[in-house]
C-alpha cells in the first residue's frame, strides 16, 4: 500500500515530460518537422509521447483534408453545418429551413446554462476557417458533444502549458478513461497552482478561480467533454479555494491546495482502486465463470488479485470490434494462468456466454444519481442479457465517478460521439447507459466492507461522504 501511495507522484513526472515534449510537436500540423531538431536528448517516455502527438497530428491533417474534400457549406455558419447533416439529402432537406429556424430561435438563446462537464458546449475558440467535424452528425444528435483537437496556437493565452498538453492528449484519447483524465487533470492543476502568483491588489481566493482555473477548465472541456469525475473534483477544488479567508497568505493557500490535491489523488483514486479490487475479488469464488466486457482497469485489477490469491475461475472476455481493448485483458489474464474465452464482439454471447457465466463484472465510467451505469458502449447489451439469464451483474466504480445531480434512463441524453470512427454515413457513440435494475451490485471503495451498494442506493454513499467531510 505504501508503494502504491508513493507511486502517485510518479505519473506527475511522466505528465510533465509528456507535457513538455508534446507541446513541441503540436505545431507540427502547420510546420512539418520539429522531430529531428534534438533527437538524442529524448528519453523513452518522451519519444513515446512524441510519436503519439505526431500520429495524432497526422490523423488530424488527414481528417482536415477529408473534410475539405466534402462539399459542405463553409465558414459563415458552422452551426448550421452541425444541424444540416450534409449527406442525407432526401428527408433532411424538406424540413431543413424550418427546423433550423426553430432550433436557432428556440434552442440557442433559450438554452439553459449547462454545467461545463457534459452537454453540448460549443467550442468558442474555433477559428472561422476551421472545418466542423460535426458536419455529418444529424440534427437530432447535435446535443451530443465530441472531442476536438484545438491547435495549441488557438488556445486561450492563459492556458498553462501542462494543461495545453493534457488537452491534446485528451482530444486524441491517449489519456482516456475517466479516472486517468481526472488524475492527470489534477496533476496539471498542481503545476498551475505551483506557478501561480497572485497579481498585486488581488487575493488568491478571489482571483485564482475566475482568472486562472476557469480558463484551464474551459480549454479542457473544449478538447473533450469533461468526465463526471473531473466535474466532481473541480467542484471540490473550487469549494476549497472559496473557503480561504481573503487574507490567507498566498504560500499557505497554495500549500493547502497542493496538499488537498495530493490527498485527493491518494484517497479517491489510488486507494479507491485498491479497495474496489479487493471487494470485487472477494466476490469471486472458486469455479466461477466471469464474463466481462472490453478492458476496464478495475476489472483487470480485481481479476488478477483474485487469481493471485489462488482462486480458480475462468474469464470470458467480450470485446468491442471497433476498439479491441479486451484483447489485451485476455492476454494478460492468460499469462497469469487464467483460462480465458474471448469473443471479438457481442454476437452470440447473449445466448451462450451469459448463461454459462456465473457473474458478469463490468467497469463503469460513471454512475448517475438514479443508479444508472454510464459505461463503454455495449455494456448495456451485456447487462440486459445477463439480467435476462439470471446472471448477477457486478459493476465496479469509484465514488468520485458518481453524479449526484443528474439522472439518466437512456443512452442519448448524455453521451459522446467518437471522433475517430465516424464517416459521413455513420458515427459511433462512445457510451451507453445501463438502467439500475440490471445491476445486481455496485462495488465502491466506501468504508471497505459496506461499500457494496445496490445501484438504487448510491446516493446514500454520497450523502454519508458529505456528512463526514
Amino acid at each position: 500500500m505504501a508503494t502504491e501511495a508513493e507511486g502517485a507522484p510518479l505519473p506527475a513526472d511522466e505528465t510533465s515530460s509528456r507535457a513538455t515534449s508534446s507541446t513541441v510537436p503540436a505545431p507540427a500540423e502547420t510546420a512539418a518537422a520539429p522531430a529531428p531538431a534534438n533527437p538524442p536528448k529524448l528519453s523513452n517516455a518522451e519519444l513515446k509521447a512524441k510519436q503519439k502527438a505526431e500520429k495524432a497530428a497526422r490523423r488530424a491533417q488527414a481528417k482536415e483534408a477529408k473534410a475539405s474534400a466534402t462539399p459542405a457549406p463553409t465558414a459563415a455558419a458552422p452551426q448550421q453545418d452541425g444541424s444540416k447533416g450534409g449527406k442525407q439529402p432526401s428527408k433532411g432537406g424538406k424540413h431543413e429551413s424550418s427546423t433550423q429556424e426553430q432550433q436557432s430561435a428556440a434552442q440557442r438563446p433559450g438554452q439553459p446554462p449547462r454545467r461545463p462537464s457534459m452537454g453540448g458546449k460549443r467550442p468558442s475558440l474555433v477559428a472561422g476557417g476551421e472545418q466542423d467535424p460535426r458536419a455529418a452528425i444529424p440534427e437530432c444528435f447535435s446535443h451530443i458533444p465530441m472531442a476536438k483537437r484545438i491547435p495549441t496556437s488557438q488556445a486561450n493565452k492563459d492556458v498553462h502549458p501542462a494543461v495545453l498538453a493534457l488537452g491534446q492528449q485528451m482530444a486524441t484519447f491517449s489519456v482516456r478513461d475517466s479516472i486517468a483524465r481526472l488524475k492527470y487533470m489534477l496533476l496539471a492543476f498542481r503545476k498551475v497552482i505551483e506557478s501561480y502568483e497572485t497579481p498585486k491588489g488581488n487575493s488568491l481566493s478571489r482571483h485564482f478561480v475566475p482568472h486562472v482555473l476557469n480558463p484551464q477548465i474551459e480549454y479542457l472541456t473544449e478538447c473533450r467533454p469533461m468526465s463526471f469525475s473531473m466535474g466532481n473534483a473541480i467542484r471540490l477544488v473550487k469549494a476549497k479555494v472559496n473557503k480561504f479567508d481573503i487574507d490567507t497568505p498566498e504560500d499557505e493557500a497554495k500549500e493547502a491546495m497542493l496538499e488537498m490535491i495530493d490527498n485527493f489523488i491518494n484517497e479517491r483514486i489510488t486507494l479507491a482502486e485498491l479497495v474496489i479490487a479487493r471487494n470485487a475479488a472477494d466476490m469471486i469464488a472458486d469455479g466461477d465463470v466471469i464474463l466481462t466486457y472490453r478492458h476496464h482497469r478495475l476489472v483487470e485489477r480485481a481479476l488478477r488479485l483474485a487469481r493471485r490469491e489462488g482462486k480458480h475461475f475462468e474469464v470470458h472476455v467480450v470485446d468491442d470490434p471497433f476498439d479491441q481493448t479486451g484483447l489485451q485483458l485476455a492476454k494478460v489474464l492468460r499469462s497469469e494462468g487464467v483460462r480465458v474465452y474471448y469473443s471479438p464482439h457481442l454476437g452470440g454471447t447473449h445466448q451462450v456466454g451469459v448463461r454459462r457465466a456465473s457473474k458478469v463484472i463490468v467497469g463503469g465510467e460513471a454512475i448517475f444519481a438514479n443508479g444508472s451505469l454510464y459505461g463503454a458502449a455495449g455494456t448495456c447489451d451485456l447487462c440486459i442479457a445477463a439480467a435476462d439469464a439470471g446472471t448477477p451483474v457486478v459493476a465496479l466504480c469509484e465514488t468520485i465517478n458518481f453524479d449526484r445531480d443528474r439522472v439518466s434512463t437512456d443512452s442519448l441524453t448524455y453521451n459522446e460521439i467518437d471522433p475517430e470512427r465516424g464517416s459521413g454515413e455513420a458515427f459511433r457513440l462512445m457510451f451507453d447507459t445501463t438502467r439500475e435494475k440490471y445491476l445486481t451490485v455496485v462495488v465502491t471503495e466506501y468504508e471497505s466492507e459496506t461499500g457494496n451498494s445496490p445501484a438504487q442506493s448510491i446516493l446514500a454513499i454520497l450523502r454519508k461522504q458529505e456528512d463526514q467531510v
Binding site: 466476490m283 469464488a285 456465473s358 457473474k359 439470471g390 446472471t391 448477477p392 457486478v394 435494475k437 445486481t440 451490485v441 468504508e447 466492507e449 459496506t450 457494496n452 451498494s453 445496490p454 438504487q456 442506493s457 446514500a460 454513499i461 454519508k464 463526514q468
Partner: protein
C-alpha cells in the same frame, strides 16, 4: 471471591451473569444490573478463557422462546462482557471479537448470528470511542459498567422493536383483508394478533381472514391457535398449496418474517421464502417482510448460487445417479441438508437436529420491509445500514 472457572461453576454467586444465561431463562433485564455492579468489582481477577460462548448462546435460545438468533448472540456477548476480566478497551474488543468468531464458526448458517455480533461489536466500539473522547477521567471499570448497562438496554430495545413493528404492520390489515402468513415468525404472529386487537376494538370482531402456511416450524401451531382464540378465521395450508391459495382465496397481502435482511434489502431466510416471494410477484400480491433493524446484516449475496461465498454451509442440491446411491451407505438420506449436524439445535428456529436450509430472496421481490423505524423500501435498507455501521 472471583473464580477462574466460570463456565464450570454454575452455582457460584460470584458470576451470576453466567449462571443466569446457562441455567435460568426468561427475564434478561432484571438480573443484569446487579451483574454489572458485582462483575465490575470482581472482574479484575476472573478469566474469560473458559467462558463457553456457544453453550451460553444455545441455552439462551433454548430457554427463551421469544428470543431470535441475533438477540441471543448479543445477549451471549453481553454475558461474555460481564465475565471478561479484560483491563483495557482494546483487550475487551478483541475478546469479544474472538468469541464472536467462535460462535459464528459453531453453526452451519452463521449469518443471523452475524447480524447480532456485528451490531454489538459496532456498538461496543462506538461506546468505547465515545468514552475515550469524553476524557481520560473515566476509568476502564466505569466504562465497562456503562457498557454493560447500555448493552442491556440495547437487548431490551431489540425486543421492544417487535411490538413496534406489530403496531406499524397491523395498519396494513384492513376490513375484509385476506392475509397470507408463512412460517413461524413471532414478529408476524404478534403483528396479526395486534391487527385482530385493533379490529376487535373497532368493530367488535376481527374482520380479516388469515391463510397460514404450515411449513413445519414449531411456532406455526401456537400462532394459528392464538389467532383463532382471538376470533380470526384461519385456514391452514401446506406449502405446496401456496400458489393455489394465493389465487383462490384472493389474498391481498403476504406477511413473512425473516432470519436476516441483507445489504441490498433482500432476505436470507428459511427455505421457501424465495418461492413464496416469487409466487407473490407473479400473482401481484404485495410481499411484506416484518423485520427488526437488528436483523440487517452486512452480507451481499448476488444470487442463490452465491450463498456459499456468504458463509452459508448447506448441501441442498445433491445430484446422484443410481450407482451413487448404491455405493453410499444405506443409512444416509440423500435428501438431508447440511449434513448430520445434530449437535446444533440452535442453528434453526424450528426443526430439531439439522440446520434449517435457507434461500435468498432478491430485493425486487420484496414490496416493503416493516421495521421498528418505519416501513422501508428494500433500497432504503442500505441507508439504514450505513447509519448503523459508519
Amino acid at each position: 471471591m472471583a473464580t477462574d472457572d466460570i463456565a464450570g461453576s454454575q452455582d457460584q454467586r460470584s458470576e451470576p451473569l453466567t449462571i443466569r444465561t446457562t441455567t435460568a431463562s426468561a427475564q434478561p433485564p432484571s438480573p443484569l444490573p446487579q451483574d454489572a455492579s458485582s462483575s465490575s468489582s470482581s472482574s479484575s481477577s476472573s478469566s474469560s478463557g473458559n467462558f463457553d460462548i456457544v453453550a451460553t448462546y444455545t441455552s439462551l435460545l433454548a430457554s427463551d422462546p421469544d428470543i431470535s438468533m441475533p438477540v441471543a448472540a448479543i445477549e451471549a456477548l453481553i454475558a461474555l462482557l460481564g465475565a471478561t476480566p479484560a483491563t483495557t478497551a482494546m483487550e475487551t474488543v478483541s475478546v469479544i471479537k474472538t468469541h464472536a468468531a467462535i460462535l459464528r464458526s459453531a453453526v452451519p448458517n452463521p449469518i443471523p448470528l452475524e447480524a447480532g455480533t456485528d451490531l454489538f461489536q459496532q456498538y461496543l466500539l462506538r461506546s468505547l470511542k465515545g468514552q475515550t473522547a469524553g476524557g481520560p477521567a473515566l476509568g476502564f471499570d466505569e466504562t465497562r459498567e456503562h457498557l454493560l448497562a447500555n448493552s442491556r438496554l440495547f437487548a431490551d430495545r431489540a425486543k421492544a422493536a417487535r411490538e413496534q413493528i406489530a403496531r406499524r404492520g397491523a395498519r396494513y390489515v384492513r376490513d375484509g383483508s385476506v392475509v397470507l402468513a408463512a412460517g413461524g415468525s413471532r414478529t408476524v404472529k404478534t403483528l396479526l394478533l395486534r391487527a385482530a386487537d385493533a379490529h376487535v376494538a373497532r368493530w367488535g370482531c376481527a374482520r380479516f381472514k388469515v391463510v397460514y402456511v404450515m411449513d413445519g416450524s414449531r411456532d406455526c401451531v401456537p400462532a394459528v391457535a392464538a389467532l383463532r382464540a382471538k376470533g380470526v378465521p384461519v385456514a391452514e395450508i401446506p406449502e405446496a398449496a401456496m400458489a393455489y391459495s394465493l389465487a383462490a382465496a384472493r389474498v391481498d397481502m403476504a406477511f413473512v418474517g425473516t432470519e436476516v435482511v441483507v445489504q441490498n434489502g433482500g432476505l436470507l431466510s428459511r427455505m421457501g421464502t424465495f418461492q413464496l416471494a416469487t409466487l407473490c410477484k407473479s400473482l401481484g400480491v404485495p410481499f411484506y417482510v416484518a423485520a427488526e433493524t437488528h436483523k440487517i446484516v452486512r452480507v451481499y449475496p448476488l444470487s442463490q448460487a452465491d450463498l456459499p461465498r456468504c458463509g452459508v454451509r448447506q448441501d441442498v442440491l445433491q445430484f446422484k445417479t443410481g450407482q451413487d446411491l448404491e455405493e453410499e451407505a444405506p443409512e444416509k438420506n440423500p435428501l438431508s441438508v447440511a449434513g448430520e449436524k445434530v449437535e446444533d439445535p440452535l442453528s434453526l428456529e424450528g426443526q430439531k437436529g439439522k440446520a434449517a436450509p435457507v434461500d435468498y430472496t432478491p430485493p425486487e421481490l420484496v414490496s416493503s420491509i416493516i421495521t421498528e423505524q418505519g416501513v422501508k423500501m428494500p433500497a432504503a435498507v442500505y441507508d439504514l445500514l450505513l447509519d448503523i455501521y459508519t
